[in-house]
Symmetry: D3
Subunit: 144 residues, 6 copies
C-alpha cells in the first residue's frame, strides 16, 4: 500500500499493444481445411449482417475484443491459446474454432493446442469432451 | 490422413512432463499476503478432510489435475495462467486464488496476470467483474 | 419490518395477470422469415412428442413458464425481452429465437431487441457473440 | 408411433407420487452438525422473507420444486442424490448442502453421497473441487 | 435485403444515449439498508484497487459497461432490470445487488423487481433460488 | 473426529467397482433408433480421431470417466441416470444422448429417464427445455 514502492501498479508502464504477425491468411487456412473453410465463410456472412446493423455498442465490443488478443505483456500466441481455453471450458464450438484457427495462423504447434485443450478439459470436466472431439477433428485437418 | 506424414499425430513424441520449479514456497506467499494466507490455510484444512475420506476417484482426479499443470509442450507458467483464465471465466474465486498464487510462485509478473484476467473478462463478460475485483485485491497484496 | 407500513409486501395486491395481445400470428412470422418458419415447425414437431408423453411435471413446468410472460406489473413485451436477455446470456439459440419471435409478434421494434441483446453481450461476454450473430440473422429477416 | 404398442407413452400410467419418509428431522441434523445448523437456520430466516412477499410465481415454483423429489418411478433417495449431482455440477453450495442433508435424513449412506459427488466432479471438472471440499466437511460432521 | 426499405437497419438512426436521472444517491440507499451499505462500501473499496492498477482494457470494459445501461431505445429502468435478470440467471450475488440497487435508485417499484426475478427463476431454475432469497432480503430492506 | 469411530471414513472399505452388464449392444440400439445410430456413428468417428492423437492426459480423462459409471456403492443404472441429470442441467445434447442410451442399454425404463430429466428441468430451468425436447424425441424412438 506504500505508494513509493518500486513495483507499485501506479508506476508500471502499460504494456505496448501491437498487431500480431500472422504467418497464414484465413484464405490459406480455408484452402487447407474444409471444416475451417465452412466456419470462416459462415462467420463472414453472419458478421456482414451484424456490421450492416451498425449497432454502436456491438461495434465497441468487437473493438475491445480485438484489443484483447494483441501482442502485449503476453505474446498474442499465448492469448489466442487462452481464448481457446476459455472457449472450450465455456463450451462454445464457434469460439473454439475461431481461436484454434487464429493460433494456427500465428504458428502455434499442435502439441500446444492440445495442452491448452487439456487445461479446459480438466477444469471444465467431461462435459467438454464433445467439444474436444470436434476440436480434434479441426486440428487433424489443420496439422496434417 | 496420410499415415506417412512427417508431423502426423501418431508419430509426435509425447511432450516430456516434469515438475515446475517454484521460486517461492506457499509459506512465503502466506507471510506476504493475508488474503493468500487465509486461502491457503482453509484449503489445507478442507483438503485434509478430503484426504481422510480416501475416495478412489477423487484421488484419481487430484492426480490428473496435478499432471495438467506440469512443464510440457507449454511452460508450467503459461498453464497456470490458463488455469487462471478458465477459473475466472467460470467464476470460481477459490480457483482464481489458487492459480494466481501458483503463477506468482513461479515468478509470473503482475502484468501477465492482469492480461490473463483480461482474456477472461472479455470472453466471460461483466459477470466476471466481481471476481476480477477480488483477484486484484490479492494481486495488490502479492506484488506490493 | 413494521407490519403497518403502507407499502409492505404483505399488503401489496398481486399484479393482475392476463394474456398479451399478439399483433401477428406465428403463421405470419413463418411466412415472412424462413429461419423463423424452420424454428417454429421443428419446435411444434418436438413439442407434440413431449405432449404425447403426458409427463405431469413437464406439463406443470410448461404452465408456470407460460404464466411468467403474461401482462403483469411489467408489460408482456418487457418480459419477452427479458426472456431474450436471459436466453442470450445463458447462450441458448432456440430460446433466443423463441423470445425474439414473441417480442416481434407483440410489436417490439428492432432497436429494442438490439438493446436487449446488448445487455446480454456486455453481461455475458464475447462468448455470446456467435449467438448474437445468429440472432441478427433472424432480426434481419423479421424486420426487413 | 403405433398407438396400440403395449409400452407407448400415452398408455403408461403416471407414477404415483407420495411424500418420502424421513428418518431424521431437520432439528436432529442441526443438533449433530454445526455446519448443517447454520445452513438450516439461515435458509429458514431467508425463506420467511420470501414467504412474506407472497409472490404467486415464486410459490408456484417452490411447489413444483417440492413435487420433483417425491417418491415416484424413482425413489426419493435417488432423486435427492440427483439433486446433489445437479447442484454440485452447477456449483451451488447452498443447493449442495440442502440435498446432502435431505439425502442424509432419508438414510442414504455416506458412500452413496460420495459416488454422487464423483459423477458431478467428473462431469463438471476441477472447478467443482472447492464445492466438493465444503461438501466433504459437511459429510464429515453428518456421518461421524 | 432491399436497401431502400423504409425500416432497414442501415437507415435507422442510432438511439440517443443519455445519463439516466437517479431519484436517490447511493448514500441514501446505504442509509436505508444495511445490506446495501455493506455492498456499496466493499464495492467502492475494491474498485479503488482496480482503478489504481490503471489497466487499459479493464477501463475500456468499465466504460462499455456504463454505456450499456444509459437511456436509449429502452429506458434505463428497463435495462437495469434486464441487468438484474441476467445477473440472477447467471447467479452472481454482487451483480444482483448492484442492479437491484440501481433500479431502486431509478424509482422502479418492488413488484417490477420481483417480476424480473421471476423471469430469471423460471429460465434459470431452482439453482437461482438461493440468490433469490438473498435478493428478497435486500428488497425487504429497500422497500420497507 | 475420533479416529476410533466405527463408521469413520478411514475405515470404510472402498466400494468394489465392476463393469455393468448391458442388456443391449450399441448395435442393437442403433438398429432400433435412427437418432441413436447417427449419434453413435458420429461419436465413434470423432473418437477415432482423438485416439489417433494419443494424448496422455486425454486418455487418462477417458479412463477416469469410464470408472465413474461402474457398479459401486450405487448401481451403474443410477449413475448413468445421474450422468443424464448432469448433462441435461449443463445442457449438452451429445452427453444427454450418451447417458440416455447407456441407461437404456442397462434396462432402465422410460419413466425413470423422464423423472431424471425432470430433476434437471426443475434445477436447471426452462433453458433446459430445448434439450428436453430433443431427449424426448430419442426416448420416443428407443422405447416404442
Amino acid at each position: 500500500m506504500n505508494p513509493a514502492t518500486e513495483h507499485s501498479a501506479a508506476e508500471r508502464p502499460a504494456p505496448e499493444r501491437k498487431e500480431p504477425t500472422f504467418l497464414l491468411t484465413e484464405k490459406c487456412v480455408a484452402d487447407k481445411s474444409e471444416l475451417a473453410r465452412r466456419f470462416i465463410e459462415t462467420r463472414a456472412r453472419l458478421n456482414a449482417n451484424v456490421d450492416k446493423a451498425n449497432n454502436f455498442l456491438v461495434k465497441r465490443y468487437y473493438n475491445i475484443d480485438h484489443n484483447t488478443y494483441l501482442e502485449g505483456a503476453l505474446p498474442a500466441k499465448t492469448k489466442e491459446l487462452m481464448g481457446l481455453v476459455a472457449s472450450a471450458c465455456l463450451r462454445c464450438d464457434d469460439c473454439i474454432f475461431y481461436h484454434a484457427i487464429q493460433a494456427y495462423r500465428l504458428g502455434v504447434p499442435r502439441a500446444e493446442q492440445e495442452e491448452s485443450l487439456n487445461v479446459a478439459l480438466v477444469v471444465g470436466g467431461s462435459i467438454v469432451i464433445p467439444h474436444l472431439r470436434r476440436a480434434y477433428e479441426l486440428l487433424e485437418e489443420l496439422y496434417r
